[in-house]
């Protein structure tokens, strides 16, 4: 099993003012799956994604990734795991406008040893794969929303992670561009990568092999 969550609870806030975002999540995801996580706003989808993406730690329970319990990881080890195994795609792209596309794409490689010489070439390869190599010297804000999301996907893939986490990847795009992005994610999934998508959109979810519904911090089905 690639990802295994056992009785995961996440509580925010202090003792007087607690918010239970996740209330005992149990979820297993195999390598190569394409899973959609659906649920209403405030249901805990993003919190779950952040825990799966090693961006956040659960308050109790266990999150096992590659057979290792991440709850005991230091923040540096979590960062290393994120860098090597996980690629993020965000709703609002989260690109840095002060850098050009190549520099944006090779950002994850800045934090990996021994990539100094090859990172530019790898970034250009990825931009080529998403069809944006001709724009490589542009700033992200010179591109359309769909193009920006492609750059974000290239960035998520450049470090060759096994898991891609996409938080509402089509949320800021029109329908046809959204469709293109989902198709691109499907193509990536076909290469053997595990894709987990958070979405409100049932059409997007329908493109995935499995759908997980979450409500009030609990998986419904």
């Amino acid at each position: 099993m690639l990802i295994s969550l056992k009785d995961v609870v996440k509580i925010y806030g202090n003792k007087e003012n607690q918010t239970k975002a996740l209330r005992g999540i149990n979820l297993d995801i195999d390598e190569g799956e394409m899973v959609a996580i659906m649920g209403p706003s405030g249901s805990g989808k993003t919190t779950l994604l952040n825990i799966i993406g090693c961006m956040d730690k659960c308050t109790s329970g266990k999150y096992i990734l590659y057979d290792e319990d991440t709850s005991s990881f230091s923040s540096n080890k979590l960062a290393k795991f994120r860098n090597e195994h996980i690629g993020f795609v965000f709703q609002n792209f989260n690109l840095l406008n002060k850098y050009n596309l190549v520099e944006n794409v090779y950002l994850p490689l800045l934090y990996r040893k021994g990539m100094r010489l090859s990172r530019k070439r790898l970034a250009e390869d990825m931009l080529d794969k998403v069809g944006l190599l001709s724009h490589k010297n542009k700033s992200p804000n010179e591109l359309s929303g769909g193009q920006q999301q492609r750059v974000a996907i290239a960035r998520a893939l450049v470090g060759n992670p096994s898991i891609i986490l996409a938080d509402e990847p089509t949320g800021s795009l029109d329908q046809s561009t959204g469709k293109e992005i989902i198709n691109l994610l499907r193509e990536i999934n076909e290469t053997g990568k595990t894709i987990i998508i958070i979405t409100h959109d049932e059409k997007v979810a329908a493109q995935c092999k499995r759908i997980v519904y979450i409500e009030d911090g609990v998986i419904k089905k």
């Binding site: 952040n50 860098n83 840095l96």
Partner: protein, 422 residues
């Protein structure tokens, strides 16, 4: 853009800090060097009032009489110093320009007594000896000590000369046959860098500056044009006597002697010897005020420097923290891509160091250019000291900034950073 603005802000702060700080240090250095030359509280000089001229014809005799008091241990010493302008073709490239555009080098004529108390550090060659101050006859070569800045142009043992010709316009009225002579100067020593003081006179100690391009020479008996009632001829002159006649001497009173009583005794002595009456004045009466002004100015300048420092430090700290806050989302993105908090701290630190270095460079160059416009004690020394002060102040500030930023960043969840929240 933000980096550029921050760098400009910091550059201006550093420039202002260094500029004002250097001025403060300048006043302090002048105060210190003036105090070091002699104890101004025990110095007397003869007051010359331009509106009521006094008879100076017997001034040397007056000093001869006063000198007798040395034996009675009432007078410690006489000190004489005179500042002259000279011109040597060998030193043309480092010569200064006077308002008329003529080139000149500064020559300080000093008495033996002045040099005895002046701790002149010699880098090469030797200091003046008793023979160099001998006034009995005209020397073929007069000894000079040059500042370190002139060592590129002159070597120890080198002899330079100046030819003196009577101006053509005077020749028609005179009957003299050969009206030209040459004075030769031999370099006997080179002073250490930042060691030669240039001062207008012993009564103007507030204008002391360090000048590595100055030349020191003892008062000597020298050749000069001699003007009589009907002709001009070449004669000899005692430079020390001339300097005394020009009121360039001061009297250092021996320790333990009542100065007021000594002034009375001096006046009585002049009367008894039928010499013209002089007004003896304590240098401290006039000079302590100047010294105090320097001291007060130093304190005021230090105050201004500290205010500038406070504003620039708080301004820089505030702006950097504000800009860091604006970059939280970027840090969140980097963290999500696998950066550790230490990576972020390193990134911020490297940017701050780069910015600080550029700002330091620009600030110093700016301050240096501004300071060059002013005659100060020693711009090089002042800048060196200010650089150390800046490093002592700005490095802990930088450390504080990094620690504050790291603590803030370490407390923050990457998820919150990604949302652009703090």
């Amino acid at each position: 853009m933000q980096f550029l603005l921050m760098t400009i802000q910091l550059s201006i702060s550093i420039m202002a800090f260094v500029f004002v700080g250097a001025f403060a240090l300048d006043k302090y250095e002048q105060y210190k060097s003036a105090k070091k030359l002699f104890n101004v509280d025990r110095i007397l000089y003869i007051y010359r009032n331009s509106t009521t001229p006094i008879d100076t014809s017997n001034l040397v005799k007056v000093f001869d009489e006063i000198k007798k008091l040395e034996g009675k241990k009432l007078i410690k010493s006489f000190k004489t110093l005179e500042r002259e302008y000279c011109y040597f073709p060998e030193l043309e490239s480092v010569a200064k320009k006077d308002p008329t555009g003529d080139s000149y080098n500064t020559m300080i004529l000093v008495s033996e007594e002045f040099m005895n108390d002046y701790d002149l550090r010699i880098k090469e060659g030797r200091n003046f000896t008793k023979e160099d101050f001998d006034l009995s006859n005209v020397k073929d070569e007069e000894s000079i000590i040059i500042g370190e800045g002139l060592s590129k142009y002159l070597k120890v043992g080198q002899v330079i000369s100046v030819n003196y010709d009577l101006p053509i316009e005077l020749l028609s009225d005179v009957t003299s046959e050969e009206l030209c002579y040459t004075r030769k100067y031999k370099v006997i020593g080179i002073a250490e860098k930042n060691s030669l003081m240039d001062l207008q006179s012993l009564k103007e100690l507030s204008d002391v500056v360090i000048d590595d391009y100055a030349i020191y020479k003892p008062f000597n008996k020298v050749k000069t044009f001699y003007i009589t009632s009907d002709e001009i001829k070449i004669g000899e002159i005692n430079e020390l006597e001339k300097a005394i006649n020009d009121f360039n001497s001061v009297i250092e009173v021996a320790d333990g002697v009542d100065i007021e009583q000594l002034i009375n005794d001096l006046n009585n002595m002049l009367k008894e010897n039928d010499l013209p009456q002089m007004e003896f004045v304590k240098l401290s009466d006039q000079y302590n005020r100047t010294l105090d002004e320097n001291k007060n100015m130093f304190i005021q300048m230090i105050g201004i420097t500290l205010i500038i420092l406070l504003f620039s430090a708080s301004g820089t700290l505030g702006t950097i923290l504000f800009l860091l806050r604006k970059r939280y989302k970027e840090f969140g993105i980097r963290l999500s891509l696998g950066a550790t908090v230490n990576d972020i701290v390193k990134l911020v630190l490297s940017e701050i160091i780069l910015m600080g270095s550029i700002a330091m460079f620009i600030g110093y160059i700016g301050a240096y250019l501004l300071l060059m416009e002013n005659i100060l004690y020693n711009v090089d020394i002042l800048l060196q000291r200010m650089m150390w002060f800046s490093l002592i102040i700005f490095i802990p500030l930088l450390g504080l900034l990094v620690i504050t930023s790291s603590i803030r960043l370490k407390k923050i969840n990457p998820v919150e950073l990604l949302r652009g929240e703090s």
